[in-house]
């Protein structure tokens, strides 16, 4: 079973977002593998371990820095990593991104594709599902539990929805987008970290994937950012100190009578 995992590199969630010249300033950002993609990687490794066979290939699209995210996945136990070189529109327009990812998937081959439910940078929550449509595959999004059977080519997943979980049955190949709760990602072992040094990470260009340059050109972007802003600062609050009996009573009074929010 060939499992493909798409990993996006994003700013560490600790990052304080700042603007510079009207755009998000990424000069001081620490880049990490997208947290939801970590669940996707872990699930791929577990499926391979459970089946006792198979190959896990990690693919990341972006500039040279994304090699670090690939190496991280390799250190966890992924078998192969591929760097798809791309920038500009192919990095931020979800349709363009997924068009490139679809090209990479076709070239790499797959029985199952795992992505994160969402990149915690632009919070699009789109690429995995668009990828499924472009490859004419079924998908299950926001998955918190997964079973696959390579013999019957069937799978069963639970996806998180308002008030509970939907149980979904699907046929393979398919795209699964991972949600927190799917598993508990492992840490890299020393052996894993050493093994990365020996791995060669092939670089694929858009031409290698047969992606039409027009599809990822600046003018083809389906959506574009026109401006960025930061949330307005919150007004200074009223913090009560003292006897719990009094502070509790006072807080209820303020919320009900002054703020009138309850």
């Amino acid at each position: 079973m060939n499992i493909l995992v798409f990993v996006k590199q994003v700013p560490d969630t600790e990052t304080r977002i700042q603007l510079k010249d009207g755009s998000v300033d990424t000069s001081a950002v620490k880049w990490v593998a997208n947290p939801y993609d970590e669940f996707a990687i872990e699930e791929a490794l577990r499926i391979r371990e459970r089946l006792g066979q198979g190959k896990v290939t990690v693919v990341s699209l972006g500039p040279d820095r994304v090699k670090e995210a690939i190496k991280y996945a390799l250190s966890l136990g992924a078998d192969e990593g591929v760097h798809v070189k791309g920038d500009g529109v192919a990095l931020w327009d979800p349709l363009a991104v997924a068009t490139v990812l679809a090209g990479a998937a076709k070239k790499a081959g797959f029985d199952l594709i795992l992505t994160g439910k969402q990149g915690v940078d632009h919070d699009w929550s789109q690429a995995g599902i668009i990828l499924a449509e472009l490859l004419d595959l079924p998908h299950v999004s926001v998955v918190v539990s997964l079973e696959v059977n390579p013999e019957s080519k069937r799978g069963k997943a639970k996806r998180e929805v308002e008030g509970g979980a939907e149980v979904v049955e699907f046929s393979l190949p398919a795209v699964i987008t991972a949600q927190k709760g799917l598993n508990e990602p492992r840490y890299a072992s020393l052996k894993g970290i050493m093994a990365v040094k020996k791995k060669v990470i092939p670089e694929w260009t858009l031409a290698d994937l047969g992606v039409d340059p027009a599809a990822v050109s600046e003018s083809a972007a389906s959506v574009r950012f026109v401006e960025f802003s930061l949330p307005p600062p919150r007004e200074k609050g009223r913090i009560l100190e003292g006897e719990p009996v009094e502070t509790a009573r006072e807080l209820v009074r303020i919320l009900r009578e002054e703020a009138k929010v309850l």
């Binding site: 700013p11 600790e14 603007l19 998000v24 327009d93 979800p94 349709l95 997924a98 915690v120 632009h122 919070d123 699009w124 929550s125 789109q126 995995g128 599902i129 449509e133 472009l134 595959l137 079924p138 998908h139 299950v140 926001v142 639970k158 998180e160 929805v161 308002e162 008030g163 979980a165 939907e166 149980v167 979904v168 049955e169 927190k180 709760g181 972007a221 389906s222 959506v223 950012f225 026109v226 960025f228 930061l230 949330p231 919150r234 007004e235 609050g237 009223r238 913090i239 009560l240 100190e241 719990p244 502070t247 509790a248 807080l251 209820v252 303020i254 919320l255 703020a259 929010v261 309850l262």
Partner: protein, 326 residues
């Protein structure tokens, strides 16, 4: 040709609140640019539901019927939306940023090869062109986005952002029936597992009471459940509490949990780490209870109590009980 079309999210044949919110915003925008508002309903409607959608602002109901629409399957619903779009030819298509809308909208966007702005919280027209505002980095920043010339533009709209119109029973809508081909969906919903309690989902909740590492164990969440009950609030949690296994991750608020925007958010025994703030800092009123007066949560709190939650919260619950009874 409709200016705006809203994909109705149905629960037992009735439109959920987010649909009424989207109709209101579509009406406002259409009023500015002089377009029509269509409601696209997929599958069986409860009796009187078409009239209800009209009273909330729909000019036309495009009612798609097909065997494949129940239970929900993304591929079938994408085909249904496409059939409705082919008929109504909207300039702009809204879906709720709910678990269903977020699952469906990217499929439709890819099928029609048109742009999708996800999780939008505001719209404006600039020289007739639609611009959407949406949080990025879980609300640490906002971006305004525009679409290219392909139509329809698609946007998913965050629940609880817009206010439904006052229903006007004298408004009438034309109902157009549209049929769609049978779709053999390769992924199908076969069951539903209800989560504990009857509480509203965090993303829809008006009041949220969240607990953090200070809860020390699953049993102490009872203290917060009591407060939730008195206030009609939904229970949330920090990642520390979720990772400790005290409460299910569906309750997690933050950058890698749910992004919420209730009227009132109670952060109880939560320090206010940047990833937690990312998920709740757009709440209208934030109330913090923490024994450390230097906890970062007090920097964003509208109101707060410095104190031990095990003393303060039961007293607070009692005070609310008395006060709300009056």
């Amino acid at each position: 040709m409709a200016g705006y079309a809203v994909v109705v999210e149905l629960k037992d044949g009735s439109a959920r609140k987010v649909t009424l919110e989207m109709l209101a915003e579509a009406r406002r925008l259409a009023g500015d640019s002089g377009g029509e508002v269509a409601a696209i309903a997929l599958g069986a409607l409860a009796p009187g539901e078409a009239e209800r959608l009209a009273s909330y602002g729909a000019d036309t109901i495009v009612h798609v019927e097909g065997e494949s629409l129940a239970p929900y399957a993304t591929e079938a619903h994408a085909a249904g939306v496409k059939a409705a779009v082919d008929r109504a030819k909207p300039e702009t298509l809204f879906l709720g940023a709910t678990s269903q809308g977020k699952d469906l909208a990217p499929r439709v966007s890819a099928r029609l090869r048109v742009g999708l702005g996800s999780d939008c919280t505001g719209f404006e027209l600039r020289s007739g062109d639609l611009i959407a505002k949406r949080p990025i980095f879980a609300g640490k920043a906002f971006a305004k986005v525009s679409w290219n010339a392909a139509r329809p533009r698609i946007a998913t709209v965050r629940p609880n952002t817009f206010t439904p119109l006052q229903p006007d029973g004298s408004r009438k809508a034309q109902v157009e029936k549209v049929s769609m081909p049978d779709v053999k969906a390769r992924a199908r919903v076969v069951g539903f597992e209800k989560s504990e309690g009857e509480m509203l989902d965090l993303t829809e909740a008006n009041i949220i009471v969240s607990g953090g590492r200070a809860m020390q164990g699953p049993e102490n969440f009872e203290i917060l459940r009591k407060l939730c009950k008195v206030l009609g609030a939904t229970l949330g949690a920090s990642r520390a509490a979720v990772d400790a296994g005290w409460i299910d991750h569906s309750h997690q608020v933050g950058q890698t949990g749910k992004v919420v925007n209730p009227t009132v958010y109670f952060a109880i025994g939560i320090s206010g780490a940047i990833q937690h703030l990312a998920g709740m800092s757009s709440s209208r009123t934030i109330v913090a209870i923490n024994k450390d007066k230097d906890a970062p949560i007090f920097k964003v709190a509208s109101y707060g109590i410095v104190g031990d939650l095990y003393q303060v919260v039961p007293l607070l619950t009692e005070e609310f009980r008395k006060s709300l009874k009056e």
